[in-house]
Symmetry: C2
Subunit: 153 residues, 2 copies
C-alpha cells in the first residue's frame, strides 16, 4: 500500500474506532517526514465536548509534543475535510498541508445541520499558505458516513 493510502486508511480505522466508542466517524493523523507522529479520533460524545473533533484533538496533542517548525512541515490527514473550526485550528497551529478523504460537500449531503464550507475557503483568508489535497478515495469515507448517519442522523 502506498504511504498516502496507508495514512488515509489509518484515518478511516480511527473513524471506525470512534464509532465503536460511541462517538462520530472521524479520524485524523499527523505525518512528519513520512512517519505518523500523532493520531486522534472524534470524542464529541464521550468527552461531552462539541470541540472534540478528530483534528482538534490531534492539534492539542501535536502542539504539546512537537516544535513549531515540525508542525509547519507536517501533513494533517483527515478522514473528512476539516470543518471551519478545525481549519481555523490548523491555521493557528501552523500545520503546512492537509490531505482529506471525504469532502464537506459530500458529508453535507448525508448529514443534516452540517457547516458546508471548503477548508481552502478558510485558509485563503490567512497570511500563510496551507496546501490542500482532496477529496481522495472518497467512496470509502463516504460509505462510513452513510452507514453511521442513517442510524444516528
Amino acid at each position: 500500500m502506498e504511504s498516502l493510502d496507508l495514512f488515509l486508511e489509518t484515518t478511516l480505522q480511527l473513524a471506525k474506532s470512534a464509532v465503536a466508542k460511541g462517538n462520530h466517524p472521524f479520524g485524523a493523523v499527523l505525518v512528519h517526514e513520512g512517519q505518523i507522529v500523532a493520531t486522534a479520533e472524534n470524542t464529541v460524545v464521550t468527552d461531552c465536548d462539541f470541540t472534540g473533533h478528530a483534528e482538534m484533538n490531534l492539534i492539542r496533542i501535536a502542539f504539546k509534543e512537537l516544535p513549531r517548525e515540525k508542525l509547519e512541515s507536517s501533513i494533517l490527514y483527515s478522514s473528512t475535510e476539516p470543518c471551519a473550526m478545525c481549519s481555523g485550528a490548523i491555521y493557528w497551529a501552523g500545520i503546512g498541508s492537509v490531505i482529506f478523504g471525504c469532502s464537506n460537500k459530500t458529508l453535507s449531503a448525508i448529514v443534516s445541520g452540517s457547516l458546508e464550507i471548503p477548508c481552502p475557503e478558510i485558509f485563503r483568508h490567512g497570511k500563510k499558505a496551507i496546501k490542500v489535497v482532496g477529496p481522495l478515495n472518497e467512496s470509502r469515507s463516504k460509505k462510513i458516513h452513510e452507514e453511521f448517519w442513517s442510524r444516528n442522523g
Copy 2:
C-alpha cells in the same frame, strides 16, 4: 451601566485577566435571559494549547453545564470577533447570537498572522441562522490589543 455594556466590559476584564496570567488579550461570557451563565478567557500560553481561545474555553464549559435549548437562546459576548475556529465551535454548539467588541479586521491591522475572516462569513454556510452584532465600543478592546501586541507581537 446598560447590560450590554456591562457584558462587554466583563469580556474586557477577562481579556486583561488573561494577559496578567501570561496569555493573550481575549475574554468571553455567555448570557442567558440577561444573566451571565459562564465566563472564560484565553489560555493558549498557560495551557500550551493553540485551541485555548476564550470562546472555545467558554463553549467547552457551557456544553457540559447547559442543555441544548439554553445554548440556542444564549448570547455569546466576546471582547473580539470570533475567529474561524471559534465561529465553527459556536455553530456546532448551537449558540443563537454573538455580540463582539473589536472586529477581526481591526485586530488584523494590529497583529501579524491573523486569520481575517468575519464571523458572519462562516455562519452563512450553516443551516441555522446565528445573529451577529458588532463591532461595538471598539476603541476599548482595540486599545487593549494595541498595548499588548506592541509588546508581544
